[in-house]
Amino acid sequence: MVETLTKSRFGIGTNAPRPDGTAKVSGEFSFSSDLWAENMLWGATLRSPHPHARIISIDTSAALGLSGVEAVITAKDVPGQLTYGLISADQPVFADSVVRYMGEPVAAVAADHPETCRRALDLIEVVYEALPVLSDPEGALDPTVAAIHPDGNLIRHQRIVSGDPDVTGDVVVEDTYVIGMQDQAFLGTESALALPDSDGAGVVMHVATQWLHEDQKQIAACLGLAPERVRLQLGGVGGAFGAREDISLQVHTALLALATRRPIKMQYGRHESFFGHVHRHPATVWMRHHADTSGVIQKIEARFLFDGGAYASTSSAVLINGVTHAQGPYKCDNAVVDGYAVRTNNPPCGAMRGFGVVQACFAHESQMDKIAQALHLDPVEVRLRNAMQQGDRLITGQVIESVAPVQRLIEETRQIPLPPEASPHPDPLSLPGGSGLASEARHVRRGIGWGVSIKNIMYSEGFDDYATARCTLKDGKASLKFATSEVGQGFVTIAQQIARTVLGVDDVDLEAIDTDIGSAGSTSASRQTWMSGGAVDGACRLVRERLFQIVGQQHNVDPLRLVIEEDEIVDPLGAFRVSVREATRDLVITEEFEHHHRPTEDLDENGQGNCHVAFAFVAHRAVVDVDPELGLVKVVQIATTQDVGRALNPLSVLGQIEGGIAQGLGLAVMEEIIVKDGRVLNPSFTDYLLPTTLDAPEVVARLVEEPDPQAPLGAKGVGEPPCISVTPAIVAAIRDAIGRDIPRCPVRPQDICL
C-alpha cells in the first residue's frame, strides 16, 4: 500500500487547507441556522417544566387563535411511530400521557416570527399532575421503586469476570469516584430547515447532524413515510461532540412543514439547547485495585453506575465502553466488574466525546496514583510497570491487535520539559482566578499529575459499521461523494488529501453531503478517518485500477506495472509516462466503495468477547497552580503524547489534541450541569462555565506514528483520546498541589478549600 503514497501537493501527510476554510473565515459558510427559504415559517417547541408529571390535558385553542400562528401540534399529530431512539425507540416525539424529564417536548408551533412562536407557546395550556421524581440513580436499582418508563428503570447491566476472581494483592486501594454531567456545548445550536414536497407526502431537510442516514430512518418512521420520502442534506454543523448523534428537533420540524405545507426553520436558543440534547453521563464508579509489592496490578474490582436520565439514548453502549475499559491501558488478568445504566427523571444522557471511557479513566487513573502512593512509587513508574502492549489480553478476553505504544507514550511525555517555575511576581492574570485578582502569588502551590488512557475506536458489539464513498475522475479532476458529516473535525480536508495522493490530481471537488448515497455511519467514536477515509481510499483505488487498465490498453503497457507519481501515471520499469490530466481527457470513471471494519462480537454474560474493533492510546501530564485557600485552579501546562497511527494532516491532528484537552480541562475544573431533584439549575453560558482563552494552558503535544496495519490508511482516529486522560491528570495535579484526596470531577472550589 505504501508505494502509492507519493507526495502530491496537499496529499496525505501535508497540512492541506480546509476546503470550507475561506467561507468560514469570511462569514459566508452556511450553517444550518443560516438557511432560509421563501415563505418560511418558524417552529418552536413547548417543553415540560416538570421532571416527572402526568399530563391531564393540553388545550391549544388559544395558541391557534393567535394571529400569525399556522399550526400547533402535539403527540396526537404524529402519524407514524410515536417514539424514537438510537438503540431502542423509547423516547416519545411528544410526551403523551407522562413527562419524564424537565424540558421534554410536549407540543410545537409554527408561526410567522420567533416572537409569535414564543407567545403562542405561552398560550398553550397544559395541566400537569406532578409525580414523585426519581433523581437518585441508586434508587433506580431498587426493585421496590416504581418504574418511570414501561421499559423499566434498568437500561442495562453488564458483568465482566476475568481470570481468578479470588486473587488478592499485597496492596489494596479503593475509592468511589463521582463524575459530573458535562455538556457538549457545541456553539451552533440545534437547527434545521424542512421543505415539504409539493405533494405533501415527503420532505427535504437541511439539518446539522452527525449521521444523516440514521436521522433519515428515525424521522421517516415517526412521519410514517418511506425513508426515500425523507431526504436529508447536511446543513453546516457548528460542532457536535456527540450531542447530534440523537435526533432532537428533526421530527418536530418535519411535522410542522407537512402540517403547514410551508418551509419551517427551527433553531434552539442556548437555554433550550441544554434541554434539547443528551449530555455526558454522570457516573459513580467504585474501584478496588489489588497490586503486588512492586505495584503490578493483580486484580481489579469495579462497580459502575451510569445515570442515563429519562430515556435510553446510547446508554447501553456507553455502559459497555465504561466496563470494558475499567483496567485502562494496563495489563490485568483478574477482574470482577459490574456496570449498570439506569433511568431516572434527570436529563437524558448519551454520547459525548470519550463515550463512557472518560468516566472509567477518571477512576482507574485515580487508582493508579493510590497504588503509587501506597508503595511510595513515582506515579510514572507505576504506570510504566503495568503498561499494556500489543498482544496483551483485555479483561474481556480480547487480544489487543492494535499498535499499543503505551510505554513509549509515557516516556516521551515525561521527556517534555516542565514549564518554568512560577514567577514570584507574576501578572495577576496568570494566577488562579485570573482577572478576579483574588489570588496572591505567595499562596499558590504547584502540582503535577498524570493520566494515561486507552480508547476503543469505531462501533462495537457486532454492529456492522460501514461507510460509503463514490469517486469520479474526469479531465484530471476528481470528485467525491459521501454522506459523512463534517462537524468541524476536517474530514472534508482528509478526503481531498486521500484522493490527491491516490489519483495524482490536485483538484478534488466535494459533492453535496446528503442521503443520495449510502450511509457513512456516524461522525463519532473517532471513526470517520478510518471508516469514511477507508471508503474514499477504496473508491479512489478502484478508479485508479480502471484508469491503469485503460491506459495500459491504450499504450500497450501492463496495467499492473503502472503507478502514480506526483500527477503522472508512470511505468517505473520502463519509459512510459503520461499525466493524469492527459490520460483522463474525454474519460469519466466512477466507482463506489463500502468500507466495513472487521466484525465484532457481543459480550457474553461474563463480559467475554471480542467486542471492540481497535484501540488508540494517549498520555497526559498536567501542571497546575492552585490557591488552596480560595479553591482556585490555573492549569499551567499540558504535555501529551498521542498514538495516532499516522498523521494524515498534522495540523488537524494538533487541532483535535488541543481542542480535546480544553474539553477535558472543562470537565476537570469547571464544567458541570447541576441537577437538583431532576431540575437543571444552570442551563446557560453564564452559569455553565466553559474554558476561555484565559483558561487555556500551554499545550506541548507529540505524536507517535506507528501505522496501524488494520487501518486503511494506517491512521487511527484522533478525536476522542485527547479529552479522556487529561481530566484525571489535572485532578491528580490538584491533589499533588494540596495533598488532599479529591474523588470527583469537576473539582469545585469547596472540594479544595473546605
Binding site: L187, F241, L429, S435, G488, Q489, A662, F685, V699
Partner: protein, 159 residues
C-alpha cells in the same frame, strides 16, 4: 406584531428595515432581515462573542443590542471587513495556522482579533488572551488561534 420602519448604516451602506418588531436584536435583524448572517448566535447572553460586530468602531455582542436603538451608529460586520471579497491578513492567518474547525466562532473571533491588533499592534501573550477571552471556541482549545494572532503580529512587522 408591530411594524417598525427604520434604517441602519452597515458596512458603509444604508439598509432599510421594514415591518419589524421593535424587540428584535441587532443580531436578528442582520441575519434574518438584511441577509448578513456572518455574525452568529450561540448564547443570547453576551457570553460567547460569536455575534461580535462593531458599533462606531467598538466590538459589541449584537445579540444584546436592540436593532432599533442603533440607527445613529456606524455598524460594521464581518462581511464588511474586505468589501472587495478578498481575505484580510487575520482571516488568511486563521486558515494557514489551523485556527478554524467548525467555524461557528470564527467570524466573531476575526472581528475581535482585528480590533485587538488595530488598538494594540504588538500585544503580549496575556494581552491577547484577555482581549479575546469574550469569544468562546469549543473546537480548537485556542492554541491555533493564538498562533494565528501571533503570525499576524509578526507579518505586520510588530514583533
Amino acid at each position: 406584531m408591530s411594524n417598525e420602519h427604520y434604517s441602519l448604516h452597515i458596512n458603509g451602506t444604508d439598509h432599510q428595515v421594514q415591518d419589524a418588531w421593535i424587540g428584535e436584536s441587532l443580531l436578528y435583524v442582520l441575519r434574518e432581515r438584511l441577509g448578513l448572517p456572518g455574525a452568529k448566535g450561540a448564547c443570547e447572553q453576551g457570553e460567547c462573542g460569536s455575534c461580535t460586530v462593531y458599533l462606531d468602531g467598538q466590538p459589541v455582542c449584537s445579540c444584546l443590542v436592540m436593532a432599533a436603538s442603533v440607527t445613529e451608529c456606524q455598524i460594521a460586520t464581518v462581511e464588511g471587513l474586505r468589501p472587495d471579497g478578498g481575505l484580510t491578513d487575520v482571516q488568511e492567518s486563521f486558515l494557514s495556522e489551523g485556527a478554524v474547525q467548525c467555524g461557528f466562532c470564527t467570524p466573531g473571533l476575526v472581528m475581535a482579533v482585528h480590533h485587538l491588533l488595530d488598538t494594540n499592534p504588538s500585544p503580549t501573550e496575556l494581552e491577547v488572551k484577555e482581549a479575546i477571552s469574550g469569544n468562546i471556541c469549543r473546537c480548537t482549545g485556542y492554541g491555533r488561534i493564538f498562533a494565528a494572532v501571533e503570525a499576524v503580529v509578526v507579518q505586520r512587522g510588530n514583533r
